[in-house]
Structure formats: C-alpha cells, structure tokens
Amino acid sequence: MTSIAAYAQAVRDALAGHPDREELLEDLDDHLTEIAAESDVPLEERLGPPAAYAEELAAAYGGRPAGRQRRRLDLRRRLGDLHATLLRQAPYRALVGFLPDLRPGWWLLRGYVVALLVLNLAGGGHDHIAPVNPGEWVVVVAIVCASVWFGRRARDRAARLLAVAVNVVAGLGLFGGFVTAGHLAGYQEELQSIRADPRVIMETASGVDGEVYNIKPYAKDGTPLTDVYLYDQDGNPVVTHPENYGYSVDRSCGEVILNRYPLPLVADEGTTGESGVTRAAPCPSVSPASPMPSVPPTRPETTADVTATPTPAEENPADETPTDDPTGKPAATPTPKRSH
C-alpha cells in the first residue's frame, strides 16, 4: 500500500505545475490500487517511472497547459524573429547598442519614481512630485540606492520577474507623475493669470461664515457711509464677488463701479438670507458735470475743476499723493500712496 501511495505522490509531484492537477488525479490512488491488486509485480516495473507516467498522463489529458505554453513560445519566437529582422536595420542596431548605456539612468529614475509613489501613498494621497522635507529626502535616497543595487546585482529568474514588475510600476508611476506635473503647471498658469489681474479679489477672510461679498463702511459716529471707494496698498481696486454667494450687482441705474461700497446688490432667484443686502435704492441724482471717479477721490472738488494747475509728479517727488487727472477722465492706474 505504501508503494502505491509513494508512486501516486511522485506522479502528483511531477504534475505540480499542471492547472487541472486535482481534477486529473482525482481517482489516481484507486486506479493504482486496482492495478496493484492484479499482480505482485511492483508498480514501477509495470507502469514505468512515475515521472514518465505523469508525462504520458498529461499528454493524454492534453488541454490548456501544453497549448498555452506553445502559444507563449510561438509569441516569443515571433518576437525573436522580428528582433532579428530589425537588427539588420542600422538605426535599430544602433538603438539596441545604445540602450544598455541608459540603464544606470533608468535605475536612478526608477528609484526616484518608486520612492515618490511610496511617499505619496504613505502620505495619504498627496501628489508631490518632489520630496518636501528632509525625512522624505532620506527615503528617496535610500530607495534610489536600493534600485541601483538591485539593477547591478546578478539576475536569477525570480529577480528578473521582480525587476519587470518594479519597472512596470515605475513606468506607470512616471506616467502618473507627468500627468500630475501637467496639472500643477496648469494650476501655476491659473495663479499667474490671477496675479496678472490688477484687481484685488476678496478672499473669504472674515465674517461669521467667512463670506465677504459686500462692505458696509461706517463713520466714527456710527453714520453709515455710502459711495466709499476702496483700494489696496498698491492702488488696486478692492472688489468682491457677490455672484459667488447668490447676489448680483444691481445695474438698473447704469454701470456700477465695483469698488464703491456698499454695493447695490439684489438677491438672485433662490437665494435665501437677505442680511447684508443693500436693496436697490432709488437712483441717486448724479450731476452730469461730475462723472463717477474710479480713483481715490482725495480731493473730489478738483475733479470738475478744470482750471486747477496740475502738479507733475516728477517735479515734486516727495508728494506721493495721487495726482488727479485735470481732465476729470478716470485714470486707469492711479499713483498710489504707499503706506504699508
């Protein structure tokens, strides 16, 4: 009985890589017992060595393993043929000759990419494309060294498979890095375009919910002020974005200067909560002789005074107060008073 079990086990071992092994060998033991019962001659003598028996069994069973292997070999042979054909072309030959020179560079890049992948995954989904602190630099240097060491060592089959896997991961990571870099570049561009816009945009800096879309100035005695022009330290108009909060500027009385506060706002449809909204008031009667200024009206009486003598800034550099345009035409860029 033990010889039967040993023989069956040897056949099983010989078929270790067979995908249908269990199915194929399901009743092998019973079958061998039946054969053994018929004669005293040992199984090895009657059936041949277990390895040969296993081979014959697999050949008769046929199916996937042999076919798949053959297809793979076919593919490999075809690729080999293609390679041989292309090798006759000088440019391909030169490229193939040159590739090994690129290997150390790839080891470095591979280490860097894998390190960044590890850091980004460990950091919970950041999209750094460069290390951001000394700790991360240490990790990057360590993994790059490991990558180079791994690239230089002798290759057995397992190491080659691992190298292929790591290279694929690094390749995908590199692609992901390019995509991320593209996004970041786009973001930078957006920032640049925002910086190029001279207007000041109110960020959500104060208020109960941090939402500022209108400004209501008051005088020291508590009197609400109207038509107050706000500028930042560089002379850029300070504007808010009420449209982001469900309000729009009421333009029923004509074009509105966006840095004159409080802004006349009307709630868009569906907007609730009217606090802070200046309802559209009756249109103020504006004298046609005094057009609306968009420069700090430091001396509003001069805006209509065309007889005032202009004081060129070059002649009096100490005077940094904005010079009014004697024509009364709104100046695009006022000379600001720099008081930081």
């Binding site: 194929l24 399901e26 019973d30 039946e34 028996y53 050949a59």
Partner: protein
C-alpha cells in the same frame, strides 16, 4: 512504424467504443482494450483520456462499492458521449477505408 503512434490519434475513439459496449472503471477499460488487441496501450494514456472525456462532458461517472478492493469509479457514455462516438466512428470508417485502398498495393 510504431503502432503506439497510430494509437495516439484514435485512443479517444477506442475508449468511447469500449464504453459504448458497457460501462467500465479505469483499469477495466485498459484491460478490455488490451484484450481487444491494443496490447501496447499505456495505462496512463487511458486514464488521462478518461479524465479528459469526463471533463469534456462526454461521460458520466458513478462509484460502485467493491468487496475485494477499493470503491470503483465507473464511467459510461452520456448523450454527448454517444454523439461523439458516432461522429468519431464515421470519421474513422472513412479514414480507414481511404487508408486501406491506399496501402493495398504495398501489402500485396
């Protein structure tokens, strides 16, 4: 020329023919093939062929208790197996006739 080479191509048909006669367990099929004159048939080849035909859905199987030895797994043709047998038998008859007429002169 070795008859085992020829046998490889027709082993499916031989096994189907044996089982068409009556159901049998693995070693029984081997023995009956040998008794029929296919003395060189390999045990592993028959066993592997049985498992393959079973997996292909051509055979049904059932276990029968045995007094003198282990339980025996019997194989028999189901409808698929019978259709397969008829189809293979037709191909074989045609092939054998062709070969017989081809090699007549060499035999003479």
């Amino acid at each position: 020329m070795d008859s085992t080479q020829l046998l490889k191509g027709v082993l499916d048909l031989a096994v189907l023919a044996v089982l068409a006669e009556r159901d049998g367990y693995g070693y029984d099929v081997v023995r009956r093939l040998r008794e029929a004159g296919l003395e060189e048939v390999g045990d592993a080849s028959v066993y592997g062929t049985l498992r393959r035909l079973f997996k292909a859905g051509a055979l049904n199987s059932y276990v029968v208790a045995s007094d003198e030895g282990p339980h025996r797994k019997y194989y028999g043709l189901n409808d698929t197996g019978r259709r397969m047998y008829a189809s293979y038998a037709g191909i074989w008859a045609s092939f054998a006739a062709t070969m017989a007429s081809l090699v007549k002169e060499g035999h003479a």
